[in-house]
């Protein structure tokens, strides 16, 4: 069955410029908008495929959307997040050495920092003056369905009007599904600005890349993402 919305998103995704997080956020926003428009038209009696087609037409053509919604990159500015990320990672490494005397403690020996995640967040941080992203740590990055992963987010913002939440999804679902792409919401435990959780990889998780999103702090700045490899 053809889906004009799915086709639109599949075409838009590769044309969008900007960092992974920006593209992911934009695609999710466009997908939600198109789904809402189609749902409203359907509610008024329009047939599903026609509703999707109209929703896509109203939004604007793919090339224009890619041009309007892609993030223009400035070569000079791009160096800033890389330098900031390297500096931050070096600092974190030194801090770890100081705290652990160069030896992994029994408690945290298998907890690693998701390096790429920090770089993405530093890049994202350029978008706003009021950014504060948590640092996300996971006990392992290669997982099996049903396996348990320990998750720690530090540096979370104060709770606002939203509760902390953690979601798990397959990266392809973000592009493929125009309904809810998240498969589950997991309970988190908060102590001050630190949030911990024990996450069991869903049994139905397909092999490949899985994304674990943690939102703590109640706004867009309280987000961190870990990329796990499901065997």
């Amino acid at each position: 069955v053809t889906s004009p919305i799915r086709d639109y998103l599949d075409e838009l995704g590769p044309q969008l410029r900007g960092g992974w997080l920006h593209r992911r956020r934009t695609l999710a926003e466009v997908r939600d908008h198109l789904a809402d428009t189609a749902a409203e038209l359907e509610r008024r009696g329009v047939e599903r495929s026609e509703a999707e087609k109209t929703a896509v037409e109203r939004f604007g053509d793919v090339a224009a959307s890619a041009e309007l919604l892609g993030k223009r990159r400035n070569r000079t500015v791009r160096l800033a997040p890389i330098l900031a990320g390297v500096t931050l990672l070096t600092g974190l490494g030194l801090l770890w050495l100081v705290e652990n005397g160069g030896h992994p403690s029994s408690d945290s020996s298998n907890v690693m920092h998701v390096h790429y995640s920090t770089l993405l967040h530093r890049e994202f941080a350029l978008q706003s003056e009021h950014v504060r992203h948590p640092h996300l740590l996971v006990s392992q990055r290669r997982v099996q369905p049903g396996e348990v992963v320990r998750v720690v987010a530090t540096g979370c913002g104060s709770l606002q009007d939203e509760r902390d939440e953690m979601t798990w999804h397959n990266h392809r679902q973000l592009l493929r599904s125009h309904d809810e792409q998240y498969t589950a919401v997991f309970r988190l435990h908060r102590q001050g600005y630190r949030v911990t959780a024990t996450f069991r990889v869903p049994e139905h998780s397909p092999p490949g890349v899985g994304l674990l999103d943690v939102y703590c702090g109640g706004d867009s700045t309280g987000q961190a993402t870990a990329m796990l490899s499901v065997a």
Binding site: E29, L68, Q127, S128, D161
Partner: protein
């Protein structure tokens, strides 16, 4: 020359205005209206979120409703404006749940509130000026 004649003419020649090519299938009057609206998009979007947090779909819907169906911009331009205004610090966004669905909602920052007040004053001056000229011509 009627709007229809202009539409035919621009379709044949594939014209450019200010370096921007007019879409071949666009109705000329509609295209001009879109261009005019784009100049005021920031004011429109800031106004749409002034009453409280809204997500993109509701903002588009609100603009259409409040303008009596007159402002039907290509919806991607509204999202471009939302992202630009957030980047400039005039808007903040946060995920929020609506009827079981999670959506990104936009709200005014204190800077956005000031910007909106300034843009309103600008618009009122502009509208007064236009009104004065049009009335004098009648």
């Amino acid at each position: 020359v009627s709007a229809t004649h202009v539409a035919v003419a621009v379709t044949r020649t594939g014209p450019r205005i200010g370096g921007e090519e007019i879409p071949r299938n666009a109705w000329y009057g509609g295209w001009v209206r879109t261009q005019e609206l784009k100049g005021h998009l920031d004011l429109l979007v800031l106004s749409a979120v002034a009453a409280g947090p809204r997500h993109g779909y509701l903002i588009v819907d609100w603009l259409r409703e409040q303008s009596g169906q007159e402002f039907a911009l290509p919806e991607n331009t509204v999202y471009a404006a939302l992202h630009r205004l957030e980047h400039a610090g005039f808007l903040r966004s946060a995920r929020a749940s609506h009827q079981g669905r999670t959506r990104r909602e936009y709200s005014l920052s204190p800077d956005g509130r000031r910007a909106l007040a300034g843009k309103r004053v600008e618009w009122e001056r502009f509208a007064r000026g236009m009104q004065g000229v049009i009335e004098a011509a009648q």
